[in-house]
């Protein structure tokens, strides 16, 4: 299966995929707690999740889970856009065991846009609000060569000190 294209534009993470199911069906899978528990993060090893979600604008949502990669984690927020079957957006807050990974220190926003296609539905996820300074957001686009040199040196140094560190583009562990 080909990977869906994902991209980082400055302080936004965008991912999209095409699914052979109508938008109404896809939307239901995004907001029904029973269904969410069945597919959310299913790529993880040894995963369990529990979901609650109030399917309305202003509704609260919460997910709790545990997996081998992140240990116990909790996500929660409020629904800010509820426009079935076209759009869903909610705020995103997380609590993750710091022994595994840093949690986001700020609230961010996740938005799903669903578009009908001949094959079914295109789902685009936009995760925004990351606290990114303009040096990251604009640095590569403006060709900031000193940053690139510094980053390359930093990465080389990291790789020497920790051989398990992988350079970008290498397969994920």
């Amino acid at each position: 299966m080909t990977s869906p294209p994902t991209a980082i534009r400055g302080d936004i993470v965008v991912a999209d995929i095409e699914i052979a199911a109508p938008p109404e069906r896809v939307f239901r899978a995004l907001v029904d707690p029973g269904e969410l528990g069945a597919w959310w993060q299913r790529a993880s090893v040894g995963l369990t999740t529990r979901w609650t979600l109030e399917a309305r604008r202003g509704g609260a949502w919460r997910a709790e889970g545990r997996d081998d990669a992140c240990g116990p984690w909790m996500l929660h927020g409020r629904v800010v856009t509820f426009d079935p079957p076209r759009a869903l957006a909610y705020t995103w807050n997380e609590r993750i065991d710091p022994a595994y990974r840093e949690s986001l220190p700020v609230e961010t926003l996740v938005r799903y846009d669903l578009t009908a296609t001949p094959a079914g539905t295109r789902v685009t996820v936009t995760h925004s609000g990351f606290p990114v300074p303009s040096a990251i957001r604009d640095g590569y686009a403006n060709g900031w060569p000193e940053v690139l040199d510094l980053l390359a040196a930093h990465l080389d140094d990291l790789t020497r000190r920790d051989p398990t560190t992988r350079p970008p583009g290498a397969p994920d562990a």
Binding site: P4, E18, E35, Q41, V125, P131, P133, I136, V147
Partner: protein, 115 residues
Amino acid sequence: MATSQAGTSAVFRALADPTRRAILDALRDGGQPVGRIADGFRVSRPAISKHLRVLREANLVLVSPSDDGRERVCELNAAPLREVEDWLNGYRRFWGENLRALKRYLESSSRRDDA
């Protein structure tokens, strides 16, 4: 996702504040004396000093004396920003995998019959 390194937490906490991000933005084109940074903000000097301390602890800003020794000059240190990029890449991977999981779920033969 990768285990966090000791400095990552300090970097993210430093970036979580919009004034601190704005200070980094002000430094992206070159070093500035502390006084000139403070002049660019409607925040008190002690508050700017506090923000600079947090940024220094995160290794995002380096402070050194000016050539004539009269001022302290702040420069952006780009190396910790590599961790930010890795962190964003982690979310990119997460959403890629999560959407694939949604697709597998909805396209499985038992799901195809659902209305």
